[in-house]
Amino acid sequence: MFDFLEGYDVLGAFWTTVQLTFFAAIGSLIWGTILAGMRVSPVPLMRAFGTVYVNVFRNIPLTVIIVFTSLGLADVFGITLGVPDDFDALGFRLAVLGLILYTSTFVCESLRAGINTVPVGQAEAARALGLGFTQVLRLIVLPQAFRSVIGPLANVLIALTKNTTVAAAIGVGEAALLMKEMIENEAQLLLISLVFALGFVVLTLPTGLILGWLGKRLAVKR
């Protein structure tokens, strides 16, 4: 019944999906945290940059961003990300870059909401001790903020996992692209679709459950 799977590297495609998710998640977490830092910083220019960045990248469809990394950044600007001749590796890295540019805005907004959950007195006490802005943020506010936004960040991660399918638009060989190829070649539309759908359910469901549980455990009890 499942002989249509032969000749196709379904696991390999999902492995690409997982890798896309992993690298984009790390990158978005870093860049999103920096953006959140900018948005609450005392330097007006950085605040303005953070605000403009978030509002611009959040409102452009991810598909447009990813297609742009390929046709704009790679073709016009000649950004090859260290792999000028390897088409597959370049597509992968460009897709990760596009995913980071887009997802970091959601990480930033979640973190900002998390910063708001930290009681004002905490920051005031830290300031009273003479800590500067970066110290207050790094030592007092962000650690607590992170713990309270694990749930929302888990949602961002799940959305990111699903969004990696958009990489298919620039030919990255991940799950969605393989599914498109398979259902065009094999006469097993329902079964093939079900396999890929379940693949994503398997990827996203544990993420939500584990991180949701972790978020509840780690949240600062107030």
Binding site: P42, P44, I60, R127, L137, V141, A154, T165, M179, L205
Partner: protein
């Protein structure tokens, strides 16, 4: 200017802030300088590449506006079909009967966990194999079907959260005057839930508008992104066309976001109604598949006479 995180700057802090500003500005200018340099090398800054958008109506009438119209058409169709479907599933998830509640829950969670692109690709193939939908209109059908399947399940959660957000007194009062469960839902809860969820519904529109671009990239749906391709093929203006398309999307989505938050504020202020509003930010949480954390399902409820109480924990 100060916030909880930092004091009003003294002389040293002010000097430091100026330094940071200068360094950051220098970095931005360098980046911009480099980008403009590359663009002018590639001839992307030439006025001929940009002029179509400003001097000729053709770029808009032939390419961009029809593309935008298709994007909006798909989004509108998706929302019009998905909303009643979502309402049915949202209500079904609240049913007292497990045989209604559980299957509805499984369907909703399943379609919420799957990428929209997969649903669109599936629908596209389905229509090509087993229906007589013409090749021209198939991409639209596929895009709308994919969007409907996904967004109906998200909207089901929105509807459910909206109904749960209503004060208990509404149900109790309905029961007190002798309404049955169905009547309570149909004539008391659902009409109010629709108002409550309007801000969330409008912000979901942003997600839908963005997702239509998937059809343009993968299914040859002639949306705004696809129109950009034909436009760029005609004028050889890759970068300008991307910039213009991005700006159109940004403006459109910012308008929707602004509308949603205005509406939210208005509903919160409104003297009529129960004061319960399903905020626009709830939508972000609902768009992730799997179990939504409980904290996000708790709506912001304004208790009359107490100002805005009950910030989301």
């Amino acid at each position: 200017m100060s916030s909880v995180l930092y004091d009003a700057p003294g002389p040293r802090a002010r000097r430091r802030n100026v330094l940071y500003t200068v360094v950051f500005l220098a970095l931005l200018v360098l980046l911009g300088w480099w980008a403009l340099g590359v663009l002018s090398d590639k001839g992307q800054l030439a006025w001929v590449k940009w002029s179509p958008f400003f001097t000729e109506a053709q770029a808009w009438t032939t390419y961009l506006l029809p593309g935008l119209a298709n994007t909006l058409k798909a989004a509108a169709l998706a929302v019009v079909i998905a909303l009643p479907l979502g309402a049915v599933f949202g209500v079904a998830r609240l049913s007292d009967h497990a045989w209604v509640r559980v299957p509805a829950g499984v369907v909703v969670e399943f379609f919420r966990a799957i990428p929209v692109l997969l649903l669109m690709v599936f629908a596209n193939q389905l229509y090509s194999e087993s229906t007589s939908v013409s090749t021209d209109s198939r991409p639209l059908y596929a895009v709308v079907t994919g969007l409907v399947l996904y967004n109906a399940s998200v909207l089901a959660e929105v509807v459910r959260a909206g109904i749960l957000a209503l004060p208990r007194g509404q149900t109790e009062a309905a029961q007190a005057i002798g309404l049955r469960k169905g009547q309570t839902m149909a004539s008391i809860l659902l009409p109010q839930a629709v108002t409550i969820m309007l801000p969330a519904l409008i912000s979901q529109l942003v997600v839908i508008v963005k997702d239509t671009a998937l059809g343009g990239a993968m299914l040859n749906f002639t949306d705004l992104l696809d129109a950009r391709k034909t436009l760029a093929a005609n004028y050889a203006n890759v970068i300008p066309s991307f910039v213009i398309v991005a700006v159109v999307f940004i403006v459109l989505n910012l308008l929707l976001t602004t509308l949603a938050s205005r509406l939210e504020r208005r509903l919160r202020r409104s003297k009529r109604g129960t004061g319960a509003v399903l905020g626009a930010q709830a939508v972000g949480e609902l768009n992730a598949g799997g179990e939504a954390p409980d904290t996000m399902m708790v709506p912001q409820i304004r208790v009359p006479g107490q100002g805005t109480a009950g910030k989301t924990p």
